[in-house]
Symmetry: C2
Subunit: 303 residues, 2 copies
Amino acid sequence: MQDSLLNRKFNLSHYLNTQRNITDQALSKIIKANFSDCRLSSAMQYSLIASGKRLRPVLCMAAAETVGEINDDVVMAACAIEMIHTYSLIHDDLPAMDDDKLRRGKPTCHIQYDEATAILAGDALLTLAFEILSDQPSLPENSSIRLQVIKTIARAAGHNGMIEGQMRDIEAETAFIPLDELKKIHQLKTGALIEASVIAGAQLAGGTTESVKQLKIYAGNIGVAFQVIDDILNVEGDAAKMGKATGTDAFRNKSTYPGLLGMEKSRRFAAELINNALHALDIFGNKAIPLSALAEYIIKRER
Amino acid sequence: MQDSLLNRKFNLSHYLNTQRNITDQALSKIIKANFSDCRLSSAMQYSLIASGKRLRPVLCMAAAETVGEINDDVVMAACAIEMIHTYSLIHDDLPAMDDDKLRRGKPTCHIQYDEATAILAGDALLTLAFEILSDQPSLPENSSIRLQVIKTIARAAGHNGMIEGQMRDIEAETAFIPLDELKKIHQLKTGALIEASVIAGAQLAGGTTESVKQLKIYAGNIGVAFQVIDDILNVEGDAAKMGKATGTDAFRNKSTYPGLLGMEKSRRFAAELINNALHALDIFGNKAIPLSALAEYIIKRER
């Protein structure tokens, strides 16, 4: 009861703005320090500063607050993860992949620049993420934790995670996909990096093994929920609010949750996942208010 | 005089075989432990086990031997760098970039598979390199050195190194390039990762700041020399020995050393660079025999 009252008092929109500002300021600083006045930097910057939701950085920082405090290392990891997310969007949008021309309401990178530049800008953002992650930590004794975080993020983003998800997603475009495989694809394509964001934040803020374990359950559930809602919004969303075309999944004959389960069951499934996520936060008490508000935001979002 | 005698006794071909075997065995182990029976893994493996020269891993290990010993961490870095090199070849060969159909005597990745798979396989090899580099070091107290090595490699491979080199190389295809810019392009595109290979090997084998500095000079010179020879071989090389098409630079009207300097001056320039490289090895005495033999190999190679 008390939690619920606190939750209601918690101003998520203010929280999101604050955390996004922290992310955007840190990203600007990185851009200023690292980027030169050339085509490659310009393309990287173009995609990186497009007005994304910054969901992964916010989750990373909220996880840190759940177990400790947001420190410089946490913000750095949040930025690195956003770079990895951005690179994955640039490459997914390429003609050889999803062939999308609009992203976050703007021309995609290969439309604004060209295909070669977009491939290289994606490669460079992925590489820069690891350059930033390998900065010396604020406390030298944290080098070992930093290596763990790099490993967690690389695994999540790699061929056993996000990239395999995209590969399967492409293969699934021309074949009927049962629900289990659809879940697996989304767990890999979207869930893995969301999970890594939460784990990285928690580890860099000094989270215990037990707290990281609970946060992993939370993240696993919201990751899939996020994708279910994405599919629902693709059917009934407003293209203007989404900043990208809607109805594209049906046009492509793509397997989706609404397609396999129907709209009503998809919504119930998403709600169930969010409940599992909230339950995993129980051990943290009020410290987890931002994370629980974020879970509820995911299911209610309109873009 | 003694050095020169020792150098003559040193069996480079045997040395190269041994170091390549170490690399190939370590790569096989990584493949076995990490790859599943799916299209993405298959494409990654296809490009990774293509019979490359393994120049970067060999340089990494030879640098380690110059200042200490080859340990597990050195071999792991050598493999990671070869993965980064392989990913860069996969992406460079794409239709939107150099549009090459043949590499190391085999169809390029996007020809053997398809474009989307090739983009993702490249992304995944780059990511796997950082996953491997973030393995816990053999000595926990080496975590900080490991972070330094990740940073060195990421910088060399990224938008201030190899990727910027490829970007400028593409831009140079349609414009006249003065010699200085050509040098810069090659320093970025080829030199930076070769330099990082040598530095990583030396750092992971416990090299001092002074020895790493000298090895950096060595690597900077052989990196450019390697590219000058590559340009020369593109003009007069034997396509069968090269395992790729020759004469392509002239066909593309691409700025090259032979094109700008003429054949004779290009050869002299390469010899000068190799001399600078050898000179930088003086402080290491006989310990540097493998590295000096490698420098001489670079100028004499036929593929």
